[in-house]
């Protein structure tokens, strides 16, 4: 890097935290406007039903009620929820903001009630009378695809939303040459994102200025602005989206939702501010879910463990309607299905399946955790079948560092990696060999220790615009203000990740100022240039690079001005510690403040240099980045109850250069914990009528601090050539790398019972059944009871 590094690479505490921990930060629900009304959505208790009638008369007559809308009232006024993903021959399944004459999932809105306060609103919502005629619900994926299945949408030939296929190399030949074909059927279950802050919306309309302001808890303020303008046919220049503090998203706020459009529509119609905030139960029902993919995988293998080819057939549970990216997510599974292995012959078929459930969409990892899980489970099945150590099997099939950039059979170019390096470090840090010895010794005593590995590669820094549905660049505008303070406006939309800190580190180093001289502004579409937002582990690698490039422009301008003032060649100047210093003669310098002042007073500017100190950069990445790593999980299974105890966890991640190791640590740890949730606890359970049975946190278990042992995290550093800082992204690594390690560990623990695979979540009863229904135990002492 061109400037002396002072802050980049340091574990600096988050600038965001003082306001957050003091409770003085502002979330949408903290905002109150004069005359504000409250919006509530009456939701369907049926997964599939015809709406015969909606009687709003009693609700309208209730005290405090201002308006009640049904689908009829918004027909033509609000377009359906946009879907940015287009897959060839995809069947249409647009989500109306209120159900028209059919409801297609439990939780779909049928009426919108507006009242003067939340109490009156809640009472009135119970008075909306909806006459439903229940219809058969489509729940199970396999059944959904049968010819005789009811249809989620009338008139569709079947419930397959699309078929997406990809083939590389010569799959037939690979399978013909195989010594063995290892098959595994796996489920990557449906999950609920459970952001700590549910969604919230506040809309305000000013008729004088024809100005519509929308506060929303979102990851994508600008895309939301554009889509709201389009949905309401309102001029985009009149729409102001403001995203204040956001309490987490995990992808669930990378979307456009009915309530955002309805609140805006109502604010315009009633000329009063309208607020909606989501309860946890509503959040479970009508904010996107994640995952929900099943996979039949076949690996063609040589006796020595060489993987010759892969076939994968994936069914993806899309839900009843498309949200912003619903159909796209499973295709990411397809692109990453070969993982970090040299599998040049493969075919993937993905069928998107419509069901009477809430839509699935991007949830932390979005398609990649599924791919990684499928291939990593299958690799362990191969290792078990061929009796090869799982570490050795992986080693054998990695591409070597010299093979990069590495072209996959799925058409991606992996930027750079040393997969074996990460694996060896993980083995060493976990004491892998000793663990295997310990496992053998404990098995003799009847104790079930399991060791699970997962080597992963993910696709991050989303992404080059050519591969993204709505552009994959990011923007930055930086203003050095006359007093020398630096205002960084970013199109990224951090919502808990801590980029106000890492972005400040970049700008401060690049411009030779202190951390506190920099303020990061994001989320206000009237203040910051158009941006894409925060998702897909892109914020640092794409948004951060935009800032880096922008700083370069400003630095060059500062040096030009300073050179002019100092009578020195700008190329011979360097910016550091609020000084511009001559490289030839360090005693020759001019202060940063004086140079900034000169830019604004504009009396002695070099010819051709504009006054002021502001620059904008729209950064378009040339490729994705492909972080990687190996995780090792060690578990002990209680053979009497099936309880799984996580004993040890070692993660080695390579996300390139680290701007702020503390933030990286937070991302890795949080991701692993979310993986513990998926592997052990979480599942959105629908019954056969499409009722969500895990409808609250009383029944949907997420991991708690007590479930998590000390997570030991390490890094290898392989900088990416894709961007100048060599950073790759780390926001999703934990949820991608950890889940298969955990499941592999439990299946490994159960090996004495001949268990080959168990589907997630590895609830105690599932593990217990696997032990107690095992036909025989090939090792260990007889069971204690029965």
């Amino acid at each position: 890097m061109a400037t002396a590094t002072k802050l980049i690479g340091k574990p600096i505490k988050r600038k965001e935290d003082p306001r957050l921990v003091q409770g003085i930060a502002h979330y949408v629900d903290d905002l109150t406007l004069p005359g504000m009304l409250h919006l509530g959505i009456v939701r369907s208790p049926y997964a599939h039903a015809r709406v015969r009638s909606v009687d709003v008369s009693k609700a309208l007559a209730a005290p405090g009620v201002v308006a009640v809308l049904t689908a009829e009232d918004v027909q033509g006024a609000i377009a359906p929820i946009p879907c940015a993903a287009q897959i060839p021959d995809m069947k249409p399944a647009p989500r109306p903001v209120l159900a028209t004459n059919e409801v297609r999932f439990v939780g779909e809105g049928v009426a919108a009630v507006v009242a003067a306060d939340r109490y009156a609103l809640r009472d009135a919502m119970d008075l909306v009378e909806v006459d439903y005629e229940p219809l058969p619900a489509v729940v199970d994926l396999e059944k959904a695809l049968r010819k005789d299945s009811p249809r989620v949408h009338d008139g569709l030939a079947d419930n397959a939303a699309y078929h997406w296929a990809l083939e590389g190399g010569d799959v037939k030949k690979a399978f013909k040459q195989a010594d063995r074909v290892v098959k595994l059927r796996m489920l990557n279950q449906r999950l609920i994102p459970v952001a700590m802050e549910p969604r919230a919306v506040l809309a305000q309309y000013d008729r004088g200025d024809n100005r519509l302001t929308l506060w929303s808890s979102s990851q994508i303020p600008h895309i939301l602005r554009t889509q709201i303008a389009a949905m309401l046919n309102f001029p985009e220049y009149g729409v102001y989206v403001i995203v204040p503090e956001v309490g987490g998203g995990f992808g669930s706020k990378l979307n456009v939702y009915p309530e955002e459009a309805l609140a805006c529509h109502l604010a315009i119609k009633l000329e009063k501010p309208v607020k909606w905030n989501e309860g946890r139960r509503e959040n479970f029902l009508s904010t996107i879910h994640g995952r929900g993919e099943s996979c039949d995988m076949e690996l063609a293998v040589k006796r020595d463990g060489t993987i010759l080819g892969m076939r994968a057939r994936v069914l993806a549970d899309l839900g009843a309607y498309y949200q912003l990216l619903t159909p796209l997510i499973p295709t990411l599974t397809g692109l990453m299905i070969c993982g970090c292995y040299r599998i040049q012959n493969l075919s993937v078929e993905i069928t998107g399946v419509l069901t009477n459930k809430m839509a699935t969409d991007a949830y932390r990892g979005a398609g990649r955790p599924e791919a990684t899980y499928f291939v990593e489970r299958a690799m362990d099945a191969v290792a078990a079948e061929l009796k090869i150590d799982p570490a050795e099997l992986r080693r054998k099939n990695f591409p070597k560092p010299k093979d990069f950039p590495y072209a996959t059979a799925t058409g991606l170019i992996y930027d750079t990696a040393n997969y074996q390096g990460a694996l060896e470090l993980a083995l060493k840090k976990s004491g892998y060999k000793a663990l295997r010895r310990q496992q053998a010794a404990l098995r003799k005593k009847g104790r079930l220790l399991g060791i699970g590995l997962s080597s992963y590669v993910e696709i991050c820094a989303l992404g080059p615009s050519s591969a993204m549905p709505a552009g994959g660049w990011e923007s930055a505008t930086i203003r050095i203000e006359p007093t020398g303070r630096v205002r960084v406006l970013t199109g990224s939309s951090p919502h808990g990740q801590g980029e106000e800190t890492s972005f400040s580190q970049i700008a401060a180093d690049m411009l030779g100022v202190g951390l506190d001289d920099v303020i990061i502004v994001h989320g206000d579409t009237s203040a910051v240039p158009y941006g894409i937002g925060t998702f897909g582990s892109r914020t640092l690698a794409v948004g951060g690079t935009a800032i880096y490039r922008c700083c370069e422009k400003l630095r060059d301008k500062l040096l030009k001005i300073a050179g002019h003032l100092m009578q020195e060649d700008p190329a011979k100047l360097v910016l550091r510690a609020k000084q511009i210093v001559s490289k030839r003669d360090p005693k020759k310098s001019i202060s940063f403040a004086e140079t900034v002042g000169a830019a604004y007073t504009a009396k002695t500017l070099p010819p051709g240099v504009e006054p002021g100190l502001e620059a904008t950069h729209f950064y378009e990445p040339s490729n994705f980045t492909f972080p990687f790593g190996t995780h090792v999980a060690v578990v002990e299974v209680d053979r009497e109850t099936g309880e799984v105890k996580l004993v040890k966890y070692v993660a080695v991640d390579d996300c390139g250069n680290l701007i702020n190791p503390l933030l990286v640590e937070g991302q890795v740890q949080g991701g692993i914990v979310q993986s513990i949730g998926q592997a052990m606890l979480e599942e959105a359970v629908y019954d056969d009528q499409g009722q969500l049975l895990t409808g609250e946190l009383m029944d949907y278990a997420i991991p708690r601090a007590a479930d998590v042992p000390k997570l030991e995290t390490f890094h290898t550093v392989t900088p990416t050539p894709v961007n100048p800082m060599g950073v790759k992204g780390v926001g999703e690594a934990g949820t991608i790398g950890a889940t298969p390690a955990l499941v592999n560990a439990v299946v490994d623990a159960l090996a004495p019972f001949g268990v080959r695979h168990l589907d997630m979540p590895l609830k105690r009863e599932r593990v217990w059944k696997a032990i107690h229904q095992a036909p025989s135990e090939s090792a260990g002492r007889p069971r204690r009871s029965k």
Partner: protein, 142 residues
């Protein structure tokens, strides 16, 4: 969810059959039913007040008898809808004479919707079983 069981009513088959077809007996015996009004042949509208411990609520619903094969078997369908969601139960009742007594064998499906499914399933299933018990006890004493 599946609901099945058997219950012995200390009355002859014919008497049990008559009781099952008598709306006033049904009104008395169906737990929580406050009022039962005819709504077509073998069909009744019901208003229901339910209370188990701290859980309580008002529902409106229906009771429907069908596929009658006197005095041997029938289908019974009940449904209740209210603010917290809905419950429907549908199943077959078979009356098997056991000397002076009658064994009623029932098997069917219980479906919960809305909040009741999402939050109350553990409780509601148990409550439903208890209601069925109560129904037969009450039927026995009618």
């Amino acid at each position: 969810m599946k609901i099945e069981g058997r219950h012995t009513v200390p009355a002859p088959q014919e008497t049990v059959w008559q009781r099952l077809n008598d709306p006033s007996v049904l009104e008395r015996s169906l737990p929580g039913v406050e009022r039962l009004e005819p709504d077509g042949p073998d069909r009744y509208r019901a208003s229901i007040k339910y209370k188990v411990g701290a859980v309580s609520g008002s529902f409106s619903g229906s009771v429907e008898l069908s596929e009658k094969n006197p005095p041997h078997s029938m289908r019974l369908k009940t449904s209740a809808r209210g603010v917290p969601g809905f419950v429907t139960g549908e199943g077959k009742l078979e009356l098997v004479p056991k000397g002076a007594e009658t064994e009623v064998v029932y098997s069917g499906e219980l479906q919960l919707g809305g909040l009741l499914a999402a939050i109350g399933s553990r409780m509601v299933e148990s409550a439903a079983k208890k209601s069925i018990e109560d129904f037969f006890k009450s039927l026995a004493s009618s």
